[in-house]
Subunit: 126 residues, 2 copies
DNA sequence: CTAACTGTATTATAACGCATAATACAGTTA
DNA sequence: TAACTGTATTATGCGTTATAATACAGTTAG
């Protein structure tokens, strides 16, 4: 269900948070759903339990996950709303990147084409 | 001419490379123009000379700068072309980010609006 | 030629983030 | 009770970033 690349330049715990957020947005993980336990997931990914917990901790603070000590870790009821808020905050970075690419000579049309491709891809099952 | 934030999460040498690339794209630095010497710039920015050289080294490998030992460091003749190539390579990341934002519920129109804003900003003197 | 500049290279050190390892404690549940 | 759950702690190793102190070679103005 989860995949990790230990050799990537992005930290493992960030790869994990990104994947979980993605699965929630895709609806694969729905509010109330239980996640693998810290120990199980760490074993499955061949990763240290602390690393998994660090990822989960990030998602608690973002309101995506909710933990119940002794029972487990679950998708928060309002996870989607929180993730949409996070998405809004990323719009600034998107705008800056667009500006940078325009400055580098990339045409406005090419950027819009890129959005179209991403949009088409989003509609598919992937 | 250059500004550095030592407290930022992005490394100093990356801040430097980004600024120099930007100045070249804006035409402030033109092919053949000399850059401040490693020692002068490191002194001006209150930064270690090695850090400045690391930034310059990056730009050598990207074909943006050309060094002449004993004389100094200059903007490469084909700096813009190299930077445009770099820009093309960043299009993939742009597309991925767009896909991510669409998944988070950001509308296609909002993304295009962001591009329009970036485009308008690019036309200005800044 | 000398002095002062230029880029370049080397070694050592310190700080920080990432990840691991080994435990330990408390709550839940079959 | 036993086996699970999340959580917390301390220690260690590693790579990147940045600094510091040098040293060497090429260029140039005096």
């Amino acid at each position: 269900m989860f995949q990790i690349d230990p050799m990537a330049r992005t930290p493992i715990y960030e790869q994990l948070t990104a994947q979980i957020e993605r699965l929630v947005l895709l609806g694969v993980l729905q509010p109330g759903d239980a996640l693998p336990s810290v120990r199980n997931l760490s074993c499955e990914l061949a990763v240290n339990p602390n690393t998994v917990q660090k990822a989960f901790n990030e998602l608690y603070q973002r309101g995506v996950l909710a933990a119940v000590p002794g029972r487990g870790c679950f998708v928060a009821p309002d996870a989607r709303e929180h993730l949409q808020t996070v998405g809004r905050e990323k719009l600034d970075g998107f705008r800056e990147l667009a500006h940078e690419l325009l400055l580098a000579g990339i045409s406005k049309k090419d950027l819009i084409d890129a959005i179209d491709q991403a949009d088409k891809k989003e509609g598919e099952a992937e």
